[in-house]
Assembly symmetry: C2
Homo-oligomer: 433 residues x 2
Amino acid sequence: MVSTGSEARMDDAAGDVSTQMRALGRRARAAARLIALAPEARRNAALRAMAASLRDRAGPILAANALDLAEARAAGQNAAFIDRLLLDAGRLDDVATAVASVAGLPDPLGRVLASWTQPNGLRFERVATPLGVIAVIFESRPNVTADAGALCLKSGNAAILRAGSDSFRTATEIAVALREGLENAGLPSDAIQLVPTRDRAAVGEILKGLDGNIDVVVPRGGKSLVARVQSDARVPVFAHLDGNCHVYVHAAADLAMAREIVLNAKLRRTGVCGSAETLLVDRACAQTHLRPLVTALLDAGCAVRGDGETQAADARTTPASEEDWATEYLDRIIAVKVVAGLDEAIAHVERYGSHHTDAIVTAEEVAAARFLAEVDSAIVLHNASTQFADGGEFGFGAEIGIATGRMHARGPVGVEQLCSFKYRVHGNGQIRP
Amino acid sequence: MVSTGSEARMDDAAGDVSTQMRALGRRARAAARLIALAPEARRNAALRAMAASLRDRAGPILAANALDLAEARAAGQNAAFIDRLLLDAGRLDDVATAVASVAGLPDPLGRVLASWTQPNGLRFERVATPLGVIAVIFESRPNVTADAGALCLKSGNAAILRAGSDSFRTATEIAVALREGLENAGLPSDAIQLVPTRDRAAVGEILKGLDGNIDVVVPRGGKSLVARVQSDARVPVFAHLDGNCHVYVHAAADLAMAREIVLNAKLRRTGVCGSAETLLVDRACAQTHLRPLVTALLDAGCAVRGDGETQAADARTTPASEEDWATEYLDRIIAVKVVAGLDEAIAHVERYGSHHTDAIVTAEEVAAARFLAEVDSAIVLHNASTQFADGGEFGFGAEIGIATGRMHARGPVGVEQLCSFKYRVHGNGQIRP
């Protein structure tokens, strides 16, 4: 009948996910305040200490991963799933290297985003500050635990990480290493907390915001996860649901450039959100460009679903249905349509697209400018592949995801996008008349 | 049994607020696209045309206002309420002038917020774009209809305006004038729509987001309105619930400056969100500063609720309870507390404040820097009155409100804060390796 207070609390908590999660939220908020005020050097030292702990703790991490893998295999998961879940010594070292590299990014905090002086002498500064507490909900990739924790710490935020059931043991051991690194650098380990239960009710609690102790939720995973988070969250969400990206080959497009861009946009990697799903070819250049583009795609092993003109270009194509224009294949399939011109191209992208990433290929600046102005997507490109939709390619160093919302974070979400701001106002006794 | 299609639609709509509101949302989205692409000159011409229409239509607007006023008087509303609701020729002219003046603000759209070139030659630009559709829910002040419509138009957004029941007739006539101005300038009148019903169910529909056709909701009114919107909205909200603002008189504060700032922060206008509600005095200067500050407040007609030391300073003070530290009086009342130093001052503000606006008075730069860094409020001031918490005073020209959220808009929300952004990427054939 004797138990320590600590054990008693654990027992209570385990019996009530809501209570447990709300306590976790309070600890995150308390840690967030300390992390927000930690100087850059200490945050960077913690990142390097986290990387060292990940390497030191390779034994328990890989052992936990082996258990997760065994469970996944027993459950009959497919090879792609197993590969996403798999950690080995090399991959874990890459994870540690990625965490340490975040220390090398410029400090996103304290940047003066704008400053000006009013006629009464008041000097205004808009300064970057942390957002607060960021919850990241992810599925089977174990590296997300470390990446997300590192990006949140760099930007002065506390992180609440919810791992998928499949990678729960691996994520737990990775989180132990991250927290050890924080402590070794003199920062509170509660700045990175892994949700300590597989109970799915924990996700519901996160989406309700843990009594105001979560400032933003970032879902990292498949479409059903993102859809649930977007529909149920009572706090802001940084995410995108679809990446139905387009390449529009305009009348004035250079054929060789168009072919390279289309093949890269579709096929470099088909499973990423920035991969192209629909090719629009201007009727004015269809005579010369359509067949070479379609043939190149088919020859590269990509299925082509086309409208009538596209089908006429190569017998290997199949008919596109209305649904194809709205489909994110994430596979070696592309929909191809001939459009009457720039207006129809823009209208098509606006009707069927997902406001993620869309490109025009043209030598005509005026057409490019109109496409870039009128297509209402987070990223619009001229003469470049849609596969550049990536925080690393933007020069952000790393990203926690890509957002298609119109608030705050849009496009790749790097450490700068994980910041809020405040106004600092400097006076010498000003009062308002 | 014969009716036009249009009449039949109106009957259906009137019978179902949800259907009516969702149709209104679709019209707003369609108009938003056109407004977003309208050049600056046309948006400004529309603002001037709206101002002209407001003046031309003074007859019906003031007649509608007379009916609203009669209803309010019959319902026994108090003098302050009647004054907020009242329009006369002079006030209406001020409203029109304010709308026209928005045309003179710099164009917030198309601003290149950042630009850089990657080693592969890709040139990135982050460019300001409209948010889309903004819903503004307000109470009895009729000028909000015009101000909100003008700020949304300037920033390329469509507006859905929901007036309070009390000002419904006035707002309806003002909206007619605004829409006439839009049409006279060749822009779609549906860029500004007033919710055409007093039915409170319309607010619920707005908070659900009208099928994704609302991007942000701005509540303008009392605390209960803001609380309902913040609790029920499924879309982002730009707002603040409380303005429990502090002035901290630090040990190194000049007494004369502190007295001017405290009196102004508390008493210039007591009903605004930036008015000070608590004065913190450092124990190190209490001997010299406390009594003069408390006496000046009391002499100016402000009630003082204080801790023990404050009560000892002047017999006219009354005891402060725990609740007083958390109260936004919006009245000639202030809570006063002696604190042990900077740490206790910051801790007090963080515990009881509302992250709105807080000020330190001190001649010591190091103390000011710590206060400005560690107080987690949208606006932090050094040696200036908290009443500067205002978009006009910031130089924003006009504001639609003040936000205390950590996402996107924080502090005064002017036309720049009503913008989103996109990335324009310029290449010359780049593909991703």
